[in-house]
Symmetry: C2
Subunit: 415 residues, 2 copies
């Protein structure tokens, strides 16, 4: 069958899928812009519409199941975080460090408590309190990718609030991880009766904090040498591969240390300072930010469309799931919004608060972790509970950018 | 096992792999440049070295087996061909149309005849002549990706020879397809005794030629409207997704018509004329070529490193395989080089000839097609024969750019 072999080119289907995803992202983004919402909300919406269409018409492919689209979307969010990191430097970060720490700590504790309460209210009486605690933990970590995109759209990524939000998101990723470790241990203890694994808990925290500390100190010392070495290459196209390679290496190292790859990519962008790469930028007639920009434009929308497409349309109709999703989304939004008011003087609390609202991939990783946990021989969360938590996370990804866009617009008018 | 779930992030391994591939590509390219070879030869060499290292040290991953790297490499070569297409327009193409046609026809017939002769000489006596014919067919189609990269490196992609080479490569892709269809039919006939399937043969040719004719006529009429529509979008980043989406759509359509996706992507670049997109380019302050450039820089090297990594190091040591590979590579190179002399007056024959030498993905698709064919119940090609043909194809990908770089340098000095 030579024809079958020749037409079985594996990439051509992906090419059509990508063209369709870009079209969906741009049409969704355009509709959102015309409704005065951030484009990213429209991209998420386009993904949800595609998921619904897939449920109705079998000819529409299941985008959420495409490993190719998943890979490119993951690369997209890593590159996006690198680009966001490039927009600030470590000295700028330190200025907002204390504000970020306050926002992060309050933004983990309040949603944790509120999420527990919400789960206790909605879940049937007699549910083990550990389940409520686990659901609260799922609401801890901010997904910075979405807010970063809104801040970039509105030209506010370099502002003080933008740095506080991103810094707090990095910190609450670490804190969220610690909460997950603790709660998972509690689940095991509740089932077995053994003591808490303080050793592994401390090791996880140490690794994550150690990676960030090393990256932001040692990393800053190494990068000038790295780019000086790259400058000795005769190739005309050395800046972008070196920059991206550095970002991907740090993303991988961060992952090895137990953090999400996007945290490492963000750290890489933060470390790279204009002074380190100026010679290469002058040689190639483009800044690194200019060179990374087309990659962000190409791949980041895929991430947002896919986030939307991962909503299971069937759960949109189950009353219990919907109730849990709405309650958790409301409390989760309120919990992060409150944290914004601890940012401090001179910062727009509403901007910081709304910026912390979206939960995404980290929360979804928590749910996935929970789905494999057993409590007294039964799954920790029933399937409708799990769908409700996922629904709440996805609702915050729509509420967050809408609120942030609104807060940015309102406060810009006032100032 | 929450930790196992959290560390099983599927993208982080790909991030490390990509960082390593960029490093290998840049180091290989740098060594090649210092040896006065084109960078792409060094990237191919880096891939071969990685494949050898994988054979020796099990800690080095098998890059050729990575589906993620394969996907990104395939996207890379499609984007590269789109960028090459953007550098010329249809009216320019028509100027060199007749020269391209001559080069393509001679460049298919001579390597076919020479390849048959070479296979007849090296293969054991008593081998069916259909096998020789099939091996000859594998040498027909030029892989334009590599020469396009060398021409770009040397700033000769917009020159007359560059257009003749690319045009001839597009035509010989169609001719090569026809030869494969014919030879595959012969193999079936040689085994069964039924007549030739003229109908399916004509249909395949008609589809391929029809696609190109439609793309270059109707496509040119549609694109101004497409980009005028895109210009009505308020999004700030519309030019690159629209351009890439258009290229990927045509690549997919070309694939449906039986052509390699790179041919459709090239046609898309050819169709897009500066006049169609000027308004969007002015609005976004960057030309489409400038926006596509970082994507080419990021993904095209992956294609070349992977091409090198797909060489099986074991075959580098088998005497029969080596002999077949060397004979076929020599004859295949000579056959395409001769075709360059039919380009016509005012063109550097050596540049055109060397530019046609590299065979790559299309030839490899032919080999894959042949590996599934049976002749009188036995595989058409024994495994060492298949390895030899693959080796010859890969040798031409090293010989081609070296020769082209040398021809460009020599003729530039003379002129």
């Amino acid at each position: 069958m030579p024809f079958a072999m020749m037409t079985a080119d594996p990439v051509s289907g992906t090419l059509l899928l990508l063209a369709a995803l870009w079209l969906a992202a741009k049409v969704g983004g355009e509709l959102a812009l015309r409704l005065h919402l951030p484009a990213v909300a429209g991209e998420l919406g386009a993904g949800i519409v595609l998921a619904i269409l897939h449920g109705r018409f079998s000819t529409i492919p299941d985008i959420a199941a495409s490993s190719e689209a998943g890979l490119l979307a993951s690369l997209g969010v890593v590159i996006l975080m690198f680009a966001v990191g490039l927009e600030s430097t470590v000295p700028q970060m330190l200025k907002t460090g204390l504000a970020s720490l306050r926002v992060a700590v309050i933004g983990v504790l309040v949603p944790l408590a509120l999420g527990m309460t919400g789960a206790w209210l909605v879940l049937p009486a007699g549910t083990n309190a550990v389940v409520d605690l686990f659901i609260g933990a799922c609401l801890c970590a901010t997904s910075i990718g979405i807010s970063a995109q809104v801040l970039r759209e509105k030209g506010a990524a370099r502002g003080a609030e933008g740095r506080v939000i991103v810094g707090a998101a990095v910190i609450d990723d670490v804190l969220g991880l610690l909460v997950l470790v603790g709660v998972s241990s509690l689940v095991t203890v509740a089932g077995s009766g053994t003591g808490l694994p303080w050793g592994s808990l401390a090791r996880t925290l140490g690794l994550a904090v150690g990676f960030l500390a090393l990256a932001l100190t040692l990393g800053r010392l190494v990068t000038p040498h790295l780019f000086r070495l790259a400058n000795r290459f005769r190739s005309e196209q050395i800046l972008l591969p070196t920059g991206l390679g550095f970002a991907f290496l740090l993303a991988w190292l961060g992952h090895v240390a137990g953090l999400a790859p996007i945290v490492g990519a963000y750290a890489a962008g933060l470390i790279l300072e204009p002074a380190h790469i100026r010679v290469l930028e002058e040689r190639e007639l483009h800044s690194l930010e200019e060179l990374v920009h087309p990659l962000v434009v190409t791949f980041a929308p895929l991430f947002f469309v896919l986030m939307g497409a991962r909503v299971d349309p069937a759960t949109l109709l189950d009353a219990r799931t919907l109730a849990l999703a709405l309650v958790l989304a409301g409390l989760g939004t309120f919990g992060k919004f409150v944290a914004g008011f601890t940012a401090g003087k001179g910062l727009r609390s509403a901007v910081v608060g709304w910026g912390m609202v979206p939960r995404g991939e980290v929360g979804l990783i928590f749910v996935a972790a929970g789905s494999s946990l057993l409590l007294a021989g039964r799954p920790l969360m029933e399937s409708w509970v799990q769908a409700g938590v996922v629904g709440a996370l996805l609702l915050t990804t729509v509420i967050g950018p809408v609120g942030l866009g609104w807060a940015l617009k309102r406060t810009t008018r006032e100032s």
